[in-house]
């Protein structure tokens, strides 16, 4: 068996795909991420997410390898050998799976080593990493089984494209119990980013994804063995795999989102109600004190500068929050506490400025300076929108119309405010800001 496996490993089709996999890793978004904030949780999930690209390749290579006997017309000759066809098939499958797994593990190790030099918070999350490995192996086995059951020239590309579609659909799983089944896709992050920073890690989904991948592998192995003639054992293994996948699907469908935005499955919940992990924030800024989780300390200077620039025209005006805290990602809107602390969702930075993804947070933060606590862009009146628009524009950013609805009158009012002298503008803001927040002011 070992010698047979050695030959198969040396001449496996997946080996040819390794350069392709290397290129994929280079162009994968994880590359740019390596230069940004290094969180163990984030990197672990990035590595797991590569399954969406590696999985289809592994499945295609598996199907192509499985079709080898038909393609080269070797079926007759192989059928006359005494070694069981199932053993022969499983050896070939194992070789394909080993190369696919190596295609995942080798770059993952490189990324983990890089991360160990950069990481600001947490520790490697084993379950997402394991889940990715199991999923790539399952993809290879699934492709191989398809290649055996439906041998044909087009099986490999069809399997690869089909799996890519399934993984992509799963990655889009959002809410609702039916959609939760899609979260079994290994392309769906098994751990929420918040859970790796602000909350204890919730392993429910990762465990179910691992179970699903093992189930798919079992079903594929069973189908391969069944096709090779060992009907009874093949059927038993395949059935066990399908049952495992079904059980994982049922369990994930019973889940709900917890406070940390992670999918919680009551039957697996071992932690119970999740409380945020205590931490001591790091703060900076001049006019406004800006505080972030220590995991994000490297972006504090940029964030404090951007938010202070936004609030600068409101200096010394009444009611301005004295502190802004960056909170977990699940916060859907800006909120102000009674003690004058504004809590905002995470802000993404790009180099020494805010990233494009941060526009909504930037805009709603500006609005939060001038409207009532808890109000969103939709509830703001024209005066609030006009002042917010001015704050955003003077800070050097454009307000996206989709985040703060504007009109020609609002834009004209913002322009009039900008055209005033600094002293006149400050006087107007100091005089009217309370009325603006109360929703009783006219357009500037």
């Amino acid at each position: 068996m070992t010698r047979l496996l050695r030959i198969e490993l040396r001449r496996n089709a997946s080996l040819v795909l390794l350069p392709v996999i290397a290129v994929l890793w280079l162009i994968w978004p994880i590359g740019p991420h390596l230069t940004q904030i290094a969180l163990w949780g984030s990197r672990s999930m990035d590595i797991q997410g590569t399954v969406i690209a590696l999985g289809p390749f592994a499945a295609g290579a598996g199907a192509w390898t499985a079709y080898r006997e038909h393609r080269h017309g070797a079926c007759d000759l192989l059928a006359t050998t005494p070694r069981a066809a199932a053993t022969r098939g499983l050896t070939t499958l194992a070789a394909s799976a080993v190369w696919a797994a190596l295609g995942y593990v080798a770059p993952a190790v490189v990324i983990l080593v890089i991360t160990s030099q950069q990481a600001t918070w947490g520790h490697p999350l084993v379950l997402p990493l394991l889940d990715g490995l199991l999923a790539v192996t399952a993809s290879s086995a699934l492709g191989f089984a398809c290649g055996r059951l439906v041998p044909g020239r087009f099986t490999a590309p069809l399997v690869a494209v089909g799996l890519l579609g399934l993984l992509t659909l799963g990655a889009e799983a959002k809410t609702g119990h039916v959609a939760f089944v899609g979260a079994l896709s290994p392309a769906y992050p098994s751990v929420s980013l918040d859970a790796s920073v602000f909350f204890p890690v919730q392993p429910d989904l990762a465990v179910l994804q691992c179970a699903g991948a093992i189930g798919v592998t079992g079903a594929a192995l069973g189908a391969t063995v069944w096709h090779a003639g060992a009907r009874r054992i093949g059927l038993a293994v395949a059935t066990t795999g399908v049952v495992l996948v079904g059980a994982a699907a049922v369990l994930v469908s019973s889940g709900h989102r917890g406070a940390d935005n992670a999918i919680m499955v009551p039957a697996l919940d071992s932690v119970g109600v999740r409380q945020p992990l205590p931490y001591t924030p790091v703060c900076g800024g001049t006019l406004l004190r800006v505080c972030v989780h220590p995991a994000y300390e490297v972006k504090l200077a940029v964030l404090a500068s951007a938010l202070n620039r936004l609030a600068a025209p409101l200096a010394d005006t009444p009611g301005l929050p004295h502190e802004i805290d960056e909170g977990p990602i699940y916060l859907s809107q800006v909120t102000t506490t009674h003690s004058g602390v504004l809590e905002i969702p995470p802000v993404f930075i790009q180099g020494d400025t805010l990233g494009p993804e941060s526009t909504p947070v930037n805009d709603t933060t500006a609005l939060a300076f001038v409207d009532a606590p808890g109000e969103g862009p939709a509830q703001a009146d024209d005066a609030q929108r006009a002042v917010a628009l001015y704050l955003i524009q003077q800070a050097g950013a454009d307000a996206g119309p989709e985040f703060i609805p504007t009109s020609p009158a609002i834009r004209a009012a913002a322009a009039r405010l900008a055209a005033r002298s600094p002293a006149a503008r400050h006087t107007w803001l100091a005089t009217h800001i309370v009325a603006v927040r109360a929703g009783t002011a006219d357009l500037p």
Partner: protein, 247 residues
């Protein structure tokens, strides 16, 4: 007897490819002649356990190939070269022969020496590390023969083994057949009557799924003494038997 077939029949749908053949073969080289479509390849595939007979009884090397328990030890002592050799182009000669040595369950300790011996016997020693895709058609054929003899088979079945071999290689191959035939049963299906004359102890001639002649090459030649078609005695005998069977 290494091959004992009685009433051996194989149908594909309505077509009868092999029609109630009786065949008993001991050690030696047995040549199987016949025109295209006579049923030679189907007969060899049944003897190689690649397909099952539709009717009749068959015992090979003392085993019943339709019995699951008997098939494995039988296949361990079987060598087979199909008419169209399916091979993996990226395998080297050594790997390909080793692959089949392992599939034929040669004891691990003997695999390497068996592979080396098979490669040497087929004259491929210098190309052992070459990939199959780099070999000529004749060399690939010799690789096919090497994989067929790697387990020192008790029953060796060769379907058109000399196709693609040059005259010098064919001479060497006939010597190899005679050598193996001393202790084993070798069944060679071929179109080339000169191969039969040079290497075979006995010869059978198939037509329309039946064996219409069995005897020695000399006996086949004698059948064609007065036949006008053919350049050599064996060819004339071959043509005469076919003509008689068709009439």
């Amino acid at each position: 007897m290494n091959v004992e077939a009685a009433g051996l029949t194989r149908r594909f749908g309505r077509a009868i490819a092999v029609d109630a053949i009786d065949l008993n073969l001991g050690p030696g080289v047995y040549g199987l002649l016949g025109p295209n479509g006579a049923g030679k390849t189907t007969l060899l595939r049944m003897l190689a356990t690649a397909i099952r007979p539709t009717a009749g009884t068959l015992r090979l090397l003392g085993h019943d190939p339709t019995d699951r328990a008997g098939r494995r030890p039988l296949r361990q002592r079987l060598g087979y070269l199909p008419q169209e050799l399916g091979y993996y182009p990226n395998f080297t000669v050594f790997e390909f022969v080793e692959y089949f040595a392992l599939l034929r369950e040669i004891p691990p300790a003997r695999v390497r020496s068996a592979v080396v011996a098979a490669i040497e016997r087929t004259g491929l020693g210098e190309r052992a590390r070459s990939k199959l895709k780099s070999l000529s058609g004749g060399m690939v054929r010799r690789v096919g023969i090497a994989q067929a003899i790697v387990n020192d088979p008790g029953l060796l079945l060769l379907d058109e083994p000399t196709a693609g071999l040059d005259p010098e290689q064919r001479v060497g191959f006939r010597a190899l057949l005679r050598d193996i035939g001393v202790s084993s049963t070798v069944l060679v299906s071929t179109h080339l009557v000169e191969d039969v004359g040079a290497a075979c102890d006995r010869v059978g001639l198939m037509l329309d799924g039946k064996i219409v002649f069995q005897g020695t090459p000399d006996e086949l030649s004698a059948r064609g003494q007065d036949h006008p078609v053919g350049d050599a005695p064996l060819e004339r005998g071959y043509a005469a038997v076919l003509a008689a069977a068709r009439s």
